[in-house]
């Protein structure tokens, strides 16, 4: 499985934000996207997922087989919003996304244990703090399987312990042959992580 971006360009409201981005990620590879605010990190992720039309070039997901024919079907998109309903409990939210997304992976309870929220699964999502909301949204990545994770500032609002836990989850996903594109400043402590510095458009191996 490979995620490929060829000469990818993105725009917001007719204004080009970035252009000429090329990369190819194979199984177990991670691309960290960094750059100043407004450099187009979120736009890049949305263009990759297909939520925004590409200004130029193309993004494609190859070798996904019948289950994952396109980037959209192969990815977990964790945006800056958590996509959870405040009126429903954490467990109900996750159970819904698991059933709706298909390809169930981990049990809801198990996923919540893994992000350290096992004891509050019965609370309405609206009662949680910012960091807890983010963590339950991260648990969404675990309840159904997707080879590609597109993460937009996944560590926003997390404390240091949860950040370390997130890094562990990302490392585990990579070692299982997953692919990650993350806009984050989180140090992963991983070998072979590539970085894409937005704003300068230069791709370098930082492993």
């Amino acid at each position: 499985m490979r995620l490929i971006a060829e000469n990818l360009g993105g725009e917001r409201g007719g204004q080009p934000v970035f252009s000429g981005i090329d990369f190819a990620l194979g199984e177990g590879e991670c691309l960290i996207v960094t750059g100043p605010n407004g450099a187009g990190k979120s736009t890049l992720l949305r263009v990759l997922a297909g939520l925004l039309p590409a200004g130029s070039g193309r993004a494609a997901f190859e070798g996904g087989g019948e289950d994952f024919p396109s980037v959209a079907s192969a990815c977990h998109y964790l945006g800056h919003l958590n996509a959870m309903k405040t009126a429903m409990t954490v467990r109900e939210n996750l159970a819904f996304w698991q059933e709706f997304s298909g390809n169930p992976a981990r049990d809801v309870g198990e996923a919540l244990e893994m992000v350290g929220l096992g004891s509050i699964r019965h609370l309405p999502f609206g009662y949680l703090s910012t960091g807890q909301r983010r963590r339950s949204s991260i648990a969404k990545l675990l309840v159904s399987y997707r080879p590609l994770w597109l993460l937009d500032e996944p560590s926003a609002g997390l404390d240091r312990q949860s950040e370390a836990r997130l890094a562990e989850l990302m490392a585990a996903h990579l070692s299982n042959g997953g692919i990650i594109v993350a806009a984050t400043h989180l140090p992963l402590g991983l070998e072979g992580v590539r970085t894409l510095e937005m704003g300068q458009v230069a791709l370098a191996d930082a492993g």
């Binding site: 939520l51 079907s73 998109y77 429903m88 109900e92």
Partner: protein, 221 residues
């Protein structure tokens, strides 16, 4: 898809009682008309079906603007759109419409016979009005979904949705009311307008969600 239906119903019932607001608004409209028209019981029973239909139409437009906006505000809409390869987006919209109808429009249909009594309508007229409402109101929701999808990006889209949707619901209103009238006024046939009403609902059940899905795809920013 069943999961989505159940989630939407659960939210519709839990989040602030949208169903009750709709029924109360419906009651307010019905209760105001006799004050405006005057205490002429014959006149009231004659225009009863029309009043019931207008009240139900306005009340069912109430919660429509939140149909997609709530999902957009918490980011769920992105994921629903991304799931397009597994669940066709138009089908997702259809399921959301059905759930919306069940949670906030079906109570109006159930309340309509009670409100018919307020308007001094004969039993046959009440039955016919309730039946035409049951068959016709889904069409309003399907048209409304297209309107809600167009206005999803606007912060104060509520009124715009109503203005966009109302003209498109006129055919539904015409055939709904004429079928209800026909049940009471003897020479008029009941079945032709009723069947056209049913056809309108089926037609809009296809066109509405497809149009809404198209609008939603281009609404992402």
């Amino acid at each position: 898809m069943l999961a989505l239906y159940l989630r939407e119903i659960r939210l519709g019932i839990r989040a602030g009682g949208g169903a009750l607001t709709g029924v109360l608004f419906f009651l307010a409209v019905i209760a105001t008309i006799p004050f405006a028209v005057g205490p002429d019981l014959n006149l009231l029973s004659r225009i009863g079906p029309a009043i019931l239909w207008i009240g139900a139409l306005l009340a069912s437009l109430l919660g429509l603007d939140r149909l997609f906006q709530a999902d957009r505000e918490d980011g769920s809409l992105d994921l629903l759109i991304l799931a397009g390869d597994r669940h066709m987006l138009a089908l997702t919209v259809l399921v959301k419409c059905l759930a919306h109808w069940t949670a906030s429009v079906l109570p109006l249909v159930i309340a309509a016979p009670v409100f018919g009594l307020i308007l001094n309508m004969p039993p046959a007229g009440i039955g016919a009005s309730a039946l035409t409402l049951l068959v016709g109101t889904p069409a309003i929701t399907f048209v409304g979904a297209a309107g809600a999808a167009v206005a999803v990006g606007l912060p104060r889209g509520g009124l715009l949705v109503s203005v966009l949707v109302l003209p498109l619901t006129i055919p539904v209103l015409i055939f709904g009311v004429s079928a209800s009238y026909a049940a009471v006024n003897d020479p008029d046939p009941f079945m032709p307008p009723f069947l056209i009403l049913a056809a309108l609902t089926l037609f809009l059940a296809v066109v509405g969600p497809v149009a809404a899905a198209l609008a939603l795809r281009f609404s992402a920013d």
